[in-house]
């Protein structure tokens, strides 16, 4: 299935959307406008000639300094049609995308990972929390402007630290208790 086949099949289902065919070396690649994403995905999943019932991957790439800087990439698989498609959505800094978790359950964590790594917000996502990074992490490490060669100690909770005096005081206190 080529990109133009898929765009032609989508045209009646998602009216007035401007899909854009992109060149690729592997399989059909289509740029989808962000506001029409959910409609497009639902059509891709349910339309008879398409049946992209499986979500393979959602990820993103940061093309800094290009604007808009991010591209979110959706890889879909149609087992019954033996076809794959790549959807790409251009996202700027601070822009949000609609979640597709209502279409493929498996999209939930994939979108969480994209938020965790790139800071791209998915509107309507029920549980947009840190996934791979610790909950109190600052920044989004897969961004190109996130520093790499830094020596930063991992932000974790402080271990219990007891000074020598406190330690001795504790011992003394316990000793008194035991004498009773």
């Amino acid at each position: 299935m080529t990109a133009s086949d898929i765009i032609n099949a989508l045209a009646p289902l998602v009216p007035n959307a401007s899909f854009e065919e992109a060149s690729s070396v592997d399989f059909a690649t289509i740029y989808v406008p962000a506001p029409r994403l959910v409609e497009t995905c639902r059509a891709l999943r349910d339309a008879d000639g398409l049946r992209f019932t499986t979500i393979i991957e959602i990820t993103a790439a940061d093309y800094l300094p290009r604007q808009p800087r991010f591209e979110v990439v959706y890889h879909l698989l149609s087992i019954s049609r033996r076809a794959r498609v790549r959807l790409k959505v251009r996202v700027g800094e601070g822009d949000a995308l609609p979640t597709v978790q209502g279409i493929w359950k498996g999209a939930g964590w994939l979108e969480r990972e994209v938020w965790d790594m790139f800071g791209i917000v998915f509107d309507g996502h029920p549980d947009l929390r840190r996934l791979l990074m610790p909950e109190d992490w600052e920044g989004h490490p897969a961004r190109k402007d996130y520093p790499v060669q830094i020596h930063k100690t991992a932000q974790t909770y402080e271990p219990l630290e007891v000074s020598e005096n406190e330690f001795r005081a504790n011992i003394e206190r316990d000793r008194v208790k035991r004498a009773h």
């Binding site: 070396v25 499986t54 393979i56 790439a61 890889h75 790499v148």
Partner: protein
């Protein structure tokens, strides 16, 4: 009379629980022994490999990606190398493809052996682990033979293989292939009709085919629900269409069905390995003949100036990959392993992303185990064959 008050109990499982296959943490909400909800927490093994890869040259990424799914190391590097080769437009010679098929299938057997041993051990058949590890040892010896490294051989390179096969390779592989089918019979004799094992696994952790597709669980989990989707059959690569083998399936979608699918897969892998080893000549080409990527042979480096320059360039600057993007899927031991790479035309990757089957499997875990017993969690985790290195990357 005072009203009887009941409440659910929250139990923390992991991250150091022995049956969570690495460091997976589950917060279980229990009503007696029945699971009300599960909240998995991952990320304990996150090492930022994808970010690190952006700082490396293309060829230097191979040892990194092998450390993601550490039980199926060479599936990672195969998917990565094939993705880069796709962007470079390289076509591998037949012998390289055959060796890669052989290595990929041996890797699948090695990974399935660890799955079999640990899965059975967690359910209570402790001795299974020793039988499985004993066979896997032979496969690690083959890795040591080809690359001097048992776990992460980095033998598959962009443009072909690291070097030619060593002497004694065919003997080692054939010895393993001759011995192994009888060992699978032995494993099955211990488990397949074992009443305890069947009671622990049949009807447990059932997932329907539609759900498996929806959760993105392509691989043995989907094949245990009746689908015959296998990347090797649906999107053949490395000439898999020229091999004779079956795609094992089962229809029940439970833990026992996944067990039967993986056991049958090992038998099919042996079939493929036998065909591959009969095609591979003991010596011959081990890389494509593209001078951009593959360094010239050593005797030419010592005698010709151009070859010396080429050698120096490849090992100092690396090679550049045309701008673009590629996603190449392969059928790994845990399901569809894929690598998505983006190149900006330089000698370092712009973005590397591995599709992790374990990530998807753990995501679906709450839906699969809800309503089951707490002991079933261990059986289900074992049957999904998750590797946390693959999940967290």
């Amino acid at each position: 009379m005072a009203e009887l008050r009941t409440e659910t109990m929250t139990v923390n499982m992991g991250p150091q629980h022995p049956s969570t296959h690495g460091v997976l943490r589950l917060v279980l909400e229990l009503d007696g022994e029945v699971i009300q909800s599960v909240m998995p927490t991952i990320g304990y093994l996150h090492t930022g490999i994808e970010k690190t890869a952006e700082q490396k040259k293309w060829q230097q990424v191979i040892p990194l990606v092998e450390r993601m799914d550490y039980l199926g190391a060479q599936s990672n590097s195969l998917a990565y190398a094939m993705a880069v080769e796709k962007l470079l437009g390289l076509e591998m010679p037949g012998r390289v493809k055959d060796i890669r098929v052989l290595i990929a299938e041996l890797q699948r057997i090695a990974s399935h052996l660890i799955w079999l041993g640990t899965h059975a051990m967690e359910i209570g058949a402790v001795s299974m682990l020793f039988y499985a590890i004993r066979e896997r040892e032979l496969l690690l010896n083959i890795n040591e033979l080809i690359a001097g490294f048992r776990f992460f051989p980095s033998y598959i390179r962009i443009g072909g293989l690291r070097e030619d096969l060593p002497r004694g390779f065919h003997e080692s592989v054939n010895a393993f292939l001759d011995r192994f089918p009888a060992k699978i019979d032995e494993f099955e004799g211990l488990l397949t009709k074992n009443d305890i094992f069947r009671r622990r696994t049949q009807g447990v952790g059932v997932i329907t085919q539609d759900d498996a597709m929806n959760w993105g669980l392509v691989g043995p989990i989907l094949r245990a629900t009746g689908s015959d989707y296998d990347v090797r059959r649906y999107f053949p690569y490395l000439g898999y269409e020229t091999y004779t083998f079956n795609i094992p399936t089962a229809s029940e979608g439970d833990v026992y069905a996944r067990y039967r699918v993986r056991i049958a897969e090992m038998r099919e892998s042996v079939k493929i390995c036998k065909q591959a080893i009969s095609r591979i000549t003991p010596s011959g080409v081990w890389a494509c003949d593209d001078p951009r990527v593959v360094p010239p042979p050593k005797d030419k480096v010592y005698s010709e100036m151009e070859a010396l320059i080429q050698h120096f360039l490849i090992y100092s600057q690396g090679f550049t990959v045309p701008a673009g993007e590629a996603y190449v899927p392969i059928e790994g031991p845990r399901g569809e392993h894929g690598t998505y790479i983006v190149s900006d035309g330089t000698n370092r990757p712009w973005r590397v992303k591995m599709r992790a089957p374990s990530f998807m499997a753990i995501q679906s875990l709450p839906a699969v185990v809800r309503g089951g017993l707490i002991a079933d969690v261990v059986a289900v985790i074992g049957s999904t064959d998750v590797v946390m290195g693959d999940c967290d990357r």
